[in-house]
């Protein structure tokens, strides 16, 4: 039996009551696609901070913006939409227990859907003007429903490493509808273009208007601002064998 990991504390600064939540997570990984897309969505929808995740294994630092002290991993809310944003990558050694603890909390909120956002490493990204977007769902009916609603391609073969893969695995095991939306992306350069494609599909799935023009217009500035997070995230990605996403699973027959 797996031991309970006590290094994660999820605090609701404003009680998150209700059910049928849709939870979007944007932990930093490939091309920071998930972080850029989730932050953009939270910002455009005017989501408000309602809690934070305290992780014992994170370095003892605080984030300060415009003189305001921020938690490193924050939870935002608007109506039944929750977004989890992080200023730091989750250390490789705690990805598994962290994902389980996070999923315990999400499950307690009786979620309708969990949406993970990420980039899928594409070595040829420089030659691609419009990155392709793929979806991977925790069950076949959900995948079919999404395909019919949005025409989004299914992620068929490959590996998903790190927190995105672990949340999806927990979603399958617990019978919680969970999807991973990924777009072709630079591996370790921030990729707002790829994030914009992901946002377009999230807006289709959630049936909300999200104009990605402001995101594309600020792409250069974003890339500059996110260089340091990308450096740190690249190092974390080595620890969770993110390079596996460039491989194909073994097939014997």
């Amino acid at each position: 039996m797996k031991e309970t990991y006590e290094g994660v504390e999820i605090v609701e600064t404003k009680p998150i009551e209700g059910e049928g939540f849709i939870v979007i997570e944007g932990f930093p990984d490939v091309g920071l696609v998930g972080s850029i897309a989730a932050s953009f969505i939270a910002d455009r929808l005017g989501m408000k901070e309602v809690g934070y995740v305290d992780v014992e294994a994170l370095p003892p630092i605080i984030s300060v913006r415009d003189g305001k002290i921020l938690e490193l991993i924050r939870i935002y809310r608007k109506d039944n939409l929750l977004a989890i944003l992080s200023d730091v990558p989750v250390p490789a050694s705690i990805v598994k227990p962290f994902s389980r603890e996070l999923m315990n909390w999400i499950q307690s909120k009786k979620p309708k859907l969990i949406i993970s956002l990420t980039g899928i490493p594409e070595p040829n990204r420089l030659n691609i003007d419009k990155p392709k977007v793929y979806v991977l769902a925790s069950n076949a009916e959900l995948a079919q429903k999404l395909y019919e609603a949005t025409g989004i391609d299914r992620f068929k073969d490959g590996f998903i490493a790190g927190i995105k893969g672990m949340l999806l695995k927990e979603g399958v095991r617990r019978g919680i509808d969970t999807i991973l939306i990924s777009a072709q992306s630079h591996f370790n350069y921030p990729d707002p273009g790829s994030a914009a494609e992901v946002v377009k599909y999230v807006s289709k799935i959630l049936q909300i208007e999200l104009d990605v023009k402001p995101l594309l217009e600020s792409a250069e500035e974003l890339k500059l601002k996110l260089r340091d997070l990308m450096r740190r995230t690249s190092q974390m990605m080595q620890g969770v064998q993110k390079s596996r996403e460039l491989e194909r699973p073994p097939v014997y027959l």
Partner: protein
């Protein structure tokens, strides 16, 4: 006082974390050096990657806010050097500066480069010396 032996998986996990902390310390030192150098020189060290593919090396650098006309790219047999302005509407104009030693010798006359979507790509043929051996 009671003493309980740690299970093996716990020992391994603790060891993994110790190694990770050590790696993290080394990496932090690496990033500190980059940031201090940037602070001292007022230059930006772009994120960059170097790949070897068959007879070629492929080098890329993420340099948003520059333009192909203003990139000063110099290449020798064993190095790539880039100097270019970085224009940011918020932070004003700064400069990219990067010198990378190559792991293999290249033919500087074979180099081709392009700048697309803020990424500079440099492709060069390796300088290969040797003999062709007949395989029996």
């Amino acid at each position: 006082m009671s003493y309980r032996r740690k299970p093996l998986w716990r020992i391994l996990l603790d060891e993994f974390r110790r190694v990770e902390e050590e790696m993290s310390r080394i990496e932090d030192e690496f990033i500190r050096r980059i940031k201090e150098a940037e602070g001292m020189r007022g230059c930006i060290t772009p994120l960059h990657n170097l790949y070897e593919s068959g007879d070629e090396i492929i080098f890329t650098a993420d340099m948003p806010g520059s333009s192909k006309e203003e990139i000063d790219l110099r290449v020798g047999e064993n190095y790539i050097r880039i100097e270019a302005p970085c224009k940011s509407p918020i932070r004003g104009e700064r400069k990219y500066l990067l010198h990378v030693e190559l792991p293999v010798e290249i033919d500087p006359t074979s180099v081709r480069a392009r700048y697309k979507d803020g990424v500079l790509e440099v492709v060069a043929r390796k300088r290969l010396r040797g003999f062709r051996i007949r395989v029996e």
